[in-house]
Symmetry: C2
Subunit: 224 residues, 2 copies
DNA sequence: ACCTGAACACCGTTCAAGT
DNA sequence: ACCTGAACACCGTTCAAGT
């Protein structure tokens, strides 16, 4: 039955929301923010810009969908056997790494006019369950979960912005060295603290530092 | 000596970086992000768009300068008599309120190609000094300060995004009620936690919640 | 030194026309 | 139902020309 002439004149599979969003993610990853153009996107999908509008209402929805897609895969892992603490650490690292790999996600998480529960809410839910498992009293549940969430989104967002800034040239260590050097040259009167801790930048690991912050907050949660 | 003819033909004072940045802040506050146009800005300053480029290199610098200006006034207060804890709370609230009043700042803090120490670094320094005053050991100084900073920037940023989304219509309480109602209608299997805490949204105060998070982290810092 | 404003290249979005 | 691509309104930025 498979006798339909399948001439190999590279015909594209039909356009679909999925393919469009996937292409958008790829473009965002390579060309960075504002490189996502309806024309560029159309070319990559070998159509005209107008075609995209049949599947997607506009650029806002496109960005929201791309963001949603990244977050969904970032938090999909789920280790049921881990302790609440470890589960929170794993979840946090998942978000951290996703934001690092897709530096545009952080900025777009906030302004998401998403359908269905927002990506943010989905992360919140995941964190909340673990906080609950931690045995935190009902009254502070909300505060504990949202403090963690806000910290995670804060770091992940800032870190992604840094990544975006530092990328082209040198590796991370060189960049940190340069920053440390710059900090040590600041006005001693106005930047006493920053100068003090500049040295610590040299043996700084972003992920470790991030986790240390998580542990600090977990400490505060379980101490209360 | 003040006899120079001052004909009242509303002549503008000359253009200057200061006036341009101030006008940009006003536009951003009223029209929200992308309403800041070189044409709109030029009209408000009653010149052509080209004139602005003599004082400012482009839109990126303009946004950075506007962001810088807001942050500078936000952290300018300084109560030398306060305890470190209170000083941190006051500083945090200052940032929170500034981001709330100027919802576009959060998104632009990250991508700031600012001259001089970045606004972020200036906040970091202020926090760090207080953390130092708290008697935190040298080794955890950096972690403590950046955890606080990241939390503050995270909340402030997210909160500003919410503000931007909810503004036009109803007041805050109505919005929270609506959100709580929406949360309570989520799938019980997948959003058990969110449904659990939905009720707490109804007696939720953003600033208080924000401060509660700060205290949680301060607890973790001083417990370590 | 500083301002003017037309012009350029480019963008998101629309829409009549096609299949 | 879905795609095409020209057209519209608008944007950041440049630059020759003015004062």
């Amino acid at each position: 039955m498979a006798t339909r002439t399948r001439r190999s004149e590279r015909r594209q599979e039909p356009l679909s929301r999925e393919r469009i969003v996937a292409a958008a993610v790829e473009i965002l990853d390579t060309v960075d923010e504002g490189g996502l153009t309806f024309r560029a996107l159309a070319e990559r999908l070998s159509t005209g810009p107008g075609a995209i509008y049949w599947h997607v209402t506009g650029k806002a929805e496109l960005l929201a969908a791309a963001t949603d897609a990244v977050v969904t895969t970032a938090i999909s892992a789920d280790d049921a056997d881990a302790t609440p603490q470890d589960a929170i650490r794993a979840l946090a690292l998942g978000v951290f790494d996703a934001f690092d790999a897709h530096p545009w996600v952080g900025a777009n998480l906030a302004r998401t006019p998403s359908p269905s529960p927002s990506p943010k809410l989905r992360i919140f839910e995941r964190i909340g369950r673990q906080v609950q498992a931690l045995g935190v009293p009902e009254a502070t549940l909300f505060t504990a979960a949202s403090t963690l969430l806000n910290y995670i989104l804060g770091v992940a967002g800032q870190n992604a912005a840094n990544t975006r800034k530092a990328r082209p040239g040198a590796n991370r260590t060189e960049f940190l060295d340069a920053t440390a050097a710059a900090w040590e040259e600041l006005d001693p009167g106005r930047y006493a603290f920053t100068r003090d801790v500049a040295g610590q930048l040299r043996e700084h690991d972003d992920r470790e530092e991030f986790l240390a912050g998580i542990d600090l907050i977990l400490g505060g949660i379980t101490a209360g």
